[in-house]
Structures are given as C-alpha cells and as structure tokens.
C-alpha cells in the first residue's frame, strides 16, 4: 500500500482498502505505525480507516466521529477495533465504545501506549513538566502545534503556553536521525530542554498482535 502523506493524514485521514475481516478505526497520527505493523506482520486481513489527525485539536468531536465510523462500517467486517486512547475525551469515548460493543486500545493517549501504559504511568508523577512528541507530531509540528497555538502569528505567547514545561521528550517510534534533529529544533523553538526516548511501537504492537489472529 502506498504511504499516505502526513498532510492528508492530518486533514482528511486515510480511506480503507475495503477488504479484510478486521477494520481498525484509527487516528490519522497513527497511520504510518499501523501500516508498518500490518506490513511487517503480514496481517492482510486487517484494513485501516483513519480519521483526520487534526480531530485532536477538537477532542470533543472525537467520540461522535468514531461512533459514526463504527456505525458506517460495522456490517462490512467481522471485527472493528478502535485505535484511539482516551485522547482527551474524558471517558466519553470509552463509554461510547462499550455501548457500541467495540474494543479500543487502552491508555490515556498515544504517548502512554507508545511508551507502554505501565511504564508511562510509573513516571507520571516525576515527569509532569514534559511535553511529548511522537514521530508523526515531530513531522507535523508546525501544523499541529506551532500554527494552531498561533505561535506563527503571536510568538510572544510561547511562554504563556509552555512556561510551566521544562523539557520536550521525543518518543521515537523509529530510528531516524533527521527526525531526531527536527525534534531537537522543536525543543529549541519552545525554549525547552530536549530528550530523545526510543519507544518503538509499544502497546500499539502488542495490542494489534492480540487482535490479529
């Protein structure tokens, strides 16, 4: 399958292939990682439908969009699985998935499940001033962070947003020196210390392995 562009994943998402027995309804920010796992494991029975990653800018819309997508496709697949964590929905997405009878990936957000929910929870108290970026968010930093926060127009707001943060943690799903350099530059632009932390695909991989058979 051809790799979708990050801009498309942010704005419009990713259309499904319309084949397979399992449909993964995923956030566009996870598309590359999900497609990589499907390819690496030969999970030909898995199809992916990604919603626009920019929904994260309006978390109150996520639950309704996921529910709509589930309803739209539930008769075409044996299994539907939601690849959104809570993602700022305050438990509403979990409640809706339970109501619809579909499973979703565990965790508060992708930063947690990429690192592993258990590991992430262990340093929750000691790392409260960390700002996290994933591979996708590093690539889409301007579209996802800089511009929506108005920092391209009002750079004086930087410390209003980030004054309480101390470091940017780049959770690397892949080993890519160019992304590492870009993430370090993002930290510099935000006035934060920089740390790269390799996570791989974390609980995303183990979750898909569990539902793959």
């Amino acid at each position: 399958m051809e790799q979708p562009s990050d801009t498309d994943l942010t704005e419009t998402g990713l259309a499904r292939r319309q084949s397979g027995s399992v449909l993964l309804i995923a956030c566009g920010a996870l598309a590359h990682e999900v497609l990589a796992l499907i390819k690496a494991n030969g999970w030909q029975h898995m199809d992916v439908q990604c919603l626009p990653a920019k929904l994260h800018l309006y978390p109150e819309k996520i639950t309704a969009e996921v529910a709509r997508t589930v309803e739209q496709h539930r008769n075409q697949y044996q299994t539907l699985f939601v690849l959104y964590a809570d993602c700022g929905t305050g438990g509403l997405l979990a409640a809706k998935c339970a109501e619809l009878g579909v499973e979703m990936i565990a965790g508060p957000h992708c930063y947690a499940f990429f690192e592993g929910n258990e590991t992430f929870a262990q340093h929750l108290d000691t790392e409260i001033s960390a700002f996290y970026l994933t591979d996708f968010l590093v690539r889409q930093f301007d579209a996802f962070v800089w511009k929506p926060m108005g920092l391209d127009r009002y750079p004086q707001l930087r410390d209003t947003y980030f004054g309480n943060y101390t470091k940017l943690v780049y959770q690397a799903q892949t080993n890519d020196p160019a992304l590492d350099a870009k993430a370090a530059d993002c930290a510099k632009r935000l006035g934060l210390a920089y740390e790269r932390r390799f996570t791989g695909y974390g609980d995303l991989a183990t979750t898909l392995e569990r539902i793959a058979p």
Partner: protein, 232 residues
Amino acid sequence: MADDDEIILSDLSDDELVLQMHDDLYDGLKEEIEEGVNILIARKWTPYDVLTKALVAGMTIVGADFRDGILFVPEVLLAANAMKGGMAILKPLLIATGAPRMGKMVIGTVKGDIHDIGKNLVGMMMEGAGFEVKDLGINNSVEKYLEAMEAEKPDILGMSALLTTTMPYMKVVIDTMKEKGMRDDYIVLVGGAPLNEEFSKAIGADAYCRDAAVAVETAKAYMLRKHNRATA
C-alpha cells in the same frame, strides 16, 4: 508623518472611549487598554465602573465570540493579557474604594498537572466579576487545597485539569472534603478540556464550567442561592 487614522484615546468622549476599549481588548492591545483605564480614572470614573463597563464588558464579547468559534485561543489569550494590564492598574484602586465583593474563591490546577491557561482566565474573569481570588497555581495536592480553604475561608473551591490522567484527582480532593465533613461548606466548581457534566456529577462537584464566562455565571448563581439559603 502621523497616521491620519490614528485614534487619540484622550480625544474620545467617555462613550466612544469605552467602545474603543472594547475593540482594543478584542485586538489584545495591552498598552491601549492601560492608557484607556488611566484616562477614565483621570475623568473621575470609579474603578468599579471602569472594570465592569470597559474591561469586563469587553471580555464578555471576547468570550462570546470564542464560544461561537469566531475567536480562537491565541486571540483570547492576547485579550486576556490586555485585560490583565488594565486590572493591574485597577486592583489597588478597587481595594481602596471598597468595590462590591461577590464572594471569595480558591482556585488551583490539580496535582500532576502544570496547565494553567484556563485556570488563569477563570481567575481573572472572577476577579473582574467582583470575586476575591486566591490562586494556588499548578500541581496542587489535596493538602494544599485543604490548607488554603482553612486559611482563606472561601465560598468557592475551583479545580482545573487538562489531562485525562490528572482529572480523577479532583475526586480525591472532594472525597477528602467529605471525609472531613466540610464538603457542604463550599461550592465546588471544576473545569478543564477533558471534563464534562457527567464527570462533574460523578465526582460530586457542584458544577462543571466549560469556560471562564460560564464559571463566572455559575459562581454568581451559586452565591445567590447561598445568600438565599442564609436569609431564608
């Protein structure tokens, strides 16, 4: 050469100046707001009138346009920063002139959470509405909330959280208040992006406030009920 369109604030009548200040607040022009406040004070306006008619009325427009999707967070922050400039001038004058007090609030972001933009907006708008506000800042443990309630004797406790992982801590605070038999002595308002009405009810808060304007209206309504209960 001077810009022909440049507005000289001191040349405007009171009514024109107030409208201009609403525009300047909308555009986040802090220096203009500070100048406008100083002009009105020099014209013998009471600090309370400057606050309510020029600043709070202007921020109400900002809040309404934010809710309607016309203005976005960056613009609201700039407007808030401009209002903050005006408030800094007015605050000592309001204290000196004994402006009406609506009540007192202790507010803070919960433990594990460093996000304070929404909390700061609420605190500022509450001050603008005549509440005395004690801001505890970020990352507050239940002990800090309890200490502040003991020391400040507020009418209202406000708690804020931006993260799914930190919002449950609000329940820890409320449950501790129940254990100590002090829950009903306070109005508990909660807010933050991932919160909702259901969560607020589930943890035993009095109300969820989706934005700063709602927080002010909710606080006023609860204070009125409190007074009515006290006088019944």
